[in-house]
């Protein structure tokens, strides 16, 4: 049976991890390569790098991070943050990334999703949506860019459907209202998108406990759960999340194998 995925997300700035992880025996808590490796060893089903420096000039640093990570980390790697051209997309894949997530650049260049999925296949194109509540829009949520700072007046549900039509193979859905609160994922938003698109939806933003991950799968239909800080600070481990999921009847990958 297909496992529900638990994805660890690393925020990377100029080649360094922003939030340190308290792994035992970790010599350099700011090294994303070493952290990704640790995560893969303790059972993360996927690693997601978010490049928050995200300028085209600094992209090279990220190519190196991916390339080094891919040498010793044999789980799927997703990279996102400011990728806005096919050349960088290709270079990330060549460095060892399996998927690239596209966020703001899809808003400013609506053809980018189509162009990249035509070129590299929809399996490696992830549409990242940063959603914020806006009651004036039909679905109640608005697409934002630049980490939630810029509003677009685009309806999230419409945007998600269009993205899938254009070839996105997966949606990484972040609730900007829940992000950082540790009060749980936005179930209403996640359910709305998961119910209405044909591709897997990864829930993101707000995870504070293993129970939150169970809820977003059982109540909102998420195909995967992503979290950053609850893993980083060692509050909850990947295995405690998986134990809780299993206890609630959600199939997960056994990390022991």
């Amino acid at each position: 049976m297909l496992s529900t995925r638990v994805i660890a997300c690393l925020d990377v700035h100029n080649g360094r991890t922003v939030k340190g992880i308290n792994f035992i025996n970790l010599k350099d808590a700011g090294d994303p390569v070493e952290q990704a490796r640790q995560y893969s060893l303790i059972g993360a089903d996927e690693i997601c790098f978010l490049d928050i420096s995200a300028t085209n000039e600094k992209r090279r640093t990220m190519f190196n991070v991916i390339s080094k990570t891919a040498e010793s980390c044999f789980v799927p790697l997703t990279v996102g943050g400011g990728v806005n051209n096919l050349k960088d997309f290709r270079e990330l894949l060549n460095s060892g990334a399996d998927k690239v997530s596209i966020n703001s650049s899809a808003v400013y260049n609506p053809n980018f999703i189509r162009e990249s999925s035509d070129k590299f296949g929809n399996q490696c194109v992830v549409l990242a949506i940063d959603a914020i509540e806006n009651k004036k829009l039909p679905c109640g949520y608005e697409v934002t860019t630049h980490g939630g700072r810029k509003k677009t007046n685009i309806d999230v549900l419409k945007w998600a459907k269009q993205g899938v039509k254009n070839g996105a193979g997966e949606i990484l859905l972040t609730s900007m209202n829940s992000d950082g609160t540790k009060k749980g994922y936005n179930l209403k938003l996640t359910k709305l998108i998961a119910k209405n698109v044909s591709v897997p939806v990864i829930a993101s933003g707000g995870a504070g406990s293993p129970r939150d991950m169970v809820d977003v799968v059982l109540q909102a239909g998420a195909s995967a759960v992503l979290a950053a800080s609850i893993f980083h600070y060692g509050i909850h481990s990947i295995s405690s999340v998986k134990k809780e999921m299993l206890k609630n009847g959600i199939q997960v990958r056994d990390c022991e194998n």
Binding site: M1, S3, E71, G249, N257
Partner: protein, 219 residues
């Protein structure tokens, strides 16, 4: 032993190379791994790996762009009986044809065709079946005696990402299945050639075990 990963402009060559190099290093095996599209190097290889991501027609097109590669591959695998592994679209290319986008012929080494995954119905948690089939899934081993399954149990999971599945009448060519709304052939093969729908290079320790078994396999 020379092991060639065929570079035909498609795929996560780097990841495949990394994963095989790691298995070789960790187990102290004697393999030289080369990534190339050079026909004379390919013809001298002992073992061949054909990766592939993206769409079936694009991969086929990429392969045909390298003049002589398809004939060479067929000769190396079917006549010279060199050990072969096709990964994901590399596996899909081994059969008669695929219906992805348009009907495109494969190598015809194995029976069957690729059709879009079925999306009707709900999973055990009431979620609709999403396409692509992305994530870690188990194998139902059909040919337990095959050396490719040494030390591999059905609890282990492998990383899949695909939207098309093989339909084949030759059940003896299906070595393992996986289940996602339907029975999906996960490992197919005959004689000296094997194809896998999942990505062993991205399947953690279970993937490393599979790669080790394939490297040690003497068809």
């Amino acid at each position: 032993m020379n092991l060639v990963i065929i570079d035909y402009g498609s795929g996560n060559l780097r990841s495949v190379e990394n994963a095989f190099k790691n298995t070789v290093a960790v187990n102290n095996l004697n393999f030289k791994i080369i990534v190339t599209n050079n026909l004379s190097i390919i013809s001298k290889a002992d073992h061949l790996i054909l990766p592939g991501v993206g769409s079936f027609p694009d991969c086929k097109k990429g392969l045909l762009k390298i003049i002589g590669l398809l004939d060479l591959l067929t000769n190396q695998v079917l006549n010279k009986r060199k050990k072969f592994l096709g990964i994901c679209v590399g596996m899909q290319l081994m059969v008669d044809y695929s219906l992805e986008k348009k009907r495109t012929s494969g190598f015809g080494w194995l029976d069957g065709c690729f059709k879009k995954l079925k999306k009707n119905g709900l999973d055990y948690l009431g979620r609709s079946y999403k396409i692509p089939h992305i994530g870690w899934n188990n194998l139902q081993i059909e040919d337990r005696n095959h050396p490719i399954f040494d030390n591999i149990n059905e609890k282990e999971q492998y990383y899949f990402v695909h939207s098309y599945a093989l339909e084949s009448k030759s059940t003896n060519e299906i070595l393992a299945n996986t289940i996602y709304n339907q029975r999906i052939p996960a490992i197919i093969g005959k004689d000296n050639y094997i194809g896998v729908q999942f990505h062993p290079e991205k399947s953690g320790n279970s993937g490393q075990k599979f790669i080790y078994n394939w490297l040690k396999w003497k068809p």
